[in-house]
Symmetry: C2
Subunit: 388 residues, 2 copies
């Protein structure tokens, strides 16, 4: 096992009827900015529940944080925050609303010349250091990214077609409310995307090098197995509370730092996927389902032991040799993504893979980006992966 | 799944050579009281490492917190803390030193009439509310109790032969340093005790009622399986770093709140075990190994589904019917405890079970104590369990 630091101060309030607690969890003094997306929370009753719980409080609203939240949109919220002297941000929605709100929280007090500098990470750059942030809390309505219990945020810039991230302990939510009933009315596509996103978060931390970390391996496998078991239940019966709850908590545990303790991590699939979203506007999970299988095939040797272990423990695979077992594991992962309705080829989106490979190659080459746990996913490797 | 709140702000710093970081983790201003036990940290070099890291700092020491830390001893430390105006407590040792230090931290600012009131919990009483505590940090040297990453503390009172606990968010350690190398020189008995203690912590949260919580079940099973796999390695080769590290992190994850999220919990084995320690002075883990098997046999019906699941997933048991599978699971648990050298009968300690049953019955009857996830472990049930 590798040395590690684990520190996650987010308070999770999980279960039926918990949104009413937002009034006690949010600070009683000062001005709250409530951020949300395109209005689905107004249709499913979450907006009303939150407003009811915050009755009598000083609340300003910022509506319209889109999927793959835009820097341009967030900067409008930053201006509103500064003008209205906001003391606390309450993000109500899915990963995009929360990620956007984390960036807003960090951008408001940011003293640097160019606020975009916060987001330079992931572009072969460390990004500017975040030294403070407005405190925030969240009400999660879409299990997927794990942002409700971590210090990460991913934001896109329309003007330059870039998708970047930052991490800072200052943007850990003070609390996150997870009520599985809020997910009953999710469109099937979003449910499926969320499952694939959470699954690939586990892959990024598990399918690397075996460093003799049996506990973390099994904690990761716990998330894989739960997602695989519960996905068809939630898709067949969207109001199955337990299936929704089990998926919601799995998505949080997929990226709250725990399964990544003391192990090597990859994240190449995410980095390549971000490029596909930036260029083609694909959903985040769609890009992951497209990139992961060819990436695993290319890295089969480097990831062999873990692919075999995953095949055995997750999919019950046994094969004549390790190479065959690894290939069967990759096929099983593809089959799982397809089974929930998320395709594994670019052609499903009418994108020519050779073209995508060329475009993404040029973008990454100009940045000298190198990804992966062995730092061997060069721009050339990415071209191969996307051409496959 | 049941509703739950999860909030664990402890910063874990894990791995080789991490004790040197205590200087950065502890506050730079104010007086630190370093608490420790009987001197083993002086023999294994941990004392020197901590002192070196705290060079130039204002440190007072309190030595002599014993196994099953005594209220009487802790109150001496409370007086010293008050006299020396201590600002921060650094507990260096195993679960007893840390539990004792948590109580000291809460007792110093306690305003109530009788400080013992803090510890009335577990005696059919809630205990006095802890409203503040001196901040503390820990350097763990014995993986077992999980106290390094939770808000619990168990303390015994010599004068009245009571063993009681309290929980308060104010006594979450600010940080805990876990260097597996500190455990290389543990006596075999302490290694084995720690493994049994961690194992039974998982049992208390897992072997109850199935509430459809597949993720938490598998996170619990991850700890079981790791302990079972790594125990013989650490016992055969005490300097096996990975085995020590895997056991250490497993013991922490066994009782940091995670596997208990949204599930029913038991804790009857612990409550009965505390009585055996209070009366006969048995090690905590020794009492658990003695109490658990007969308790499981008595509760076999109420715990049937989970016993069968545990048998299947942990011990590879299949049987003609559920009752037979459950019995095989209990036998396998007994065999595991015996395999690490912790006996499962009172006779191994020359204690007559009928006598112990009578003594503990009288003590619990006078308090009207009732334990277990179904609140059906009455004093009479405890008498049956201990007589078995």
């Amino acid at each position: 096992m590798l040395n590690f630091v684990f520190h996650n101060p987010v308070k999770i309030v999980f279960g039926k009827g918990t949104i009413s607690q937002v009034g006690e969890l949010a600070p009683t003094k000062g001005r709250i900015m409530m951020t949300y997306g395109g209005g689905s929370i107004k249709r499913n009753g979450v907006y009303d529940q939150v407003k009811e719980a915050l009755k009598g409080r000083d609340v300003v609203e910022f509506e319209g944080i889109e999927a793959n939240p835009l820097y341009e949109t967030c900067m409008k919220a930053v201006k509103l925050c500064q003008k209205e002297k906001v003391d606390f941000i309450l993000a109500v929605g899915g990963g995009s609303v929360i990620d956007g709100s984390k960036f807003i929280a960090a951008a408001v007090p940011y003293q640097g010349k160019d606020t975009w500098d916060i987001l330079r990470a992931g572009a072969g750059d460390e990004g500017a250091e975040v030294k403070s942030a407005i405190p925030l809390g969240t009400v999660l309505t879409l299990p997927a990214t794990g942002t409700e219990m971590n210090a990460n945020s991913v934001v896109s810039r329309k003007s330059t077609m870039e998708k970047r991230y930052f991490s800072s302990p200052f943007v850990y939510p003070q609390f996150s409310i997870l009520d599985p009933e809020t997910t009953f009315t999710l469109p099937e596509k979003q449910t499926a995307n969320g499952i694939v996103d959470a699954f690939v978060h586990v892959v990024e931390q598990y399918l690397t090098v075996d460093v003799n970390s049996p506990l973390q391996d099994r904690q990761a496998e716990a998330v894989f197995l739960t997602l695989i078991e519960e996905a068809p239940k939630a898709l067949a019966n969207p109001r199955d509370y337990d299936a929704r709850a089990n998926i919601m908590w799995s998505a949080t545990c997929a990226l709250n730092g725990l399964i990544g303790c003391g192990v090597q991590q990859d994240w190449a699939t995410h980095m390549i996927g971000h490029e596909l979203t930036a260029v083609y506007g694909l959903d985040h999970a769609q890009t992951l389902a497209v990139v992961l299988p060819p990436l695993l095939r290319r890295q089969k040797k480097a990831k062999l032991d873990k692919l075999v272990k995953m095949g055995e423990r997750i999919f019950g695979i046994c094969a004549a040799d390790k190479d065959a077992a690894a290939e069967k594991t990759i096929v099983a992962i593809e089959a799982f993504f397809n089974s929930v309705g998320v395709p594994t080829t670019l052609s499903a989106y009418n994108i020519k893979s050779s073209e995508a490979a060329a475009v993404v190659y040029r973008r990454l080459k100009s940045l000298n980006s190198v990804f992966g746990e062995h730092a061997d996913i060069t721009p050339e490797a990415v071209r191969d992966i996307l051409s496959a």
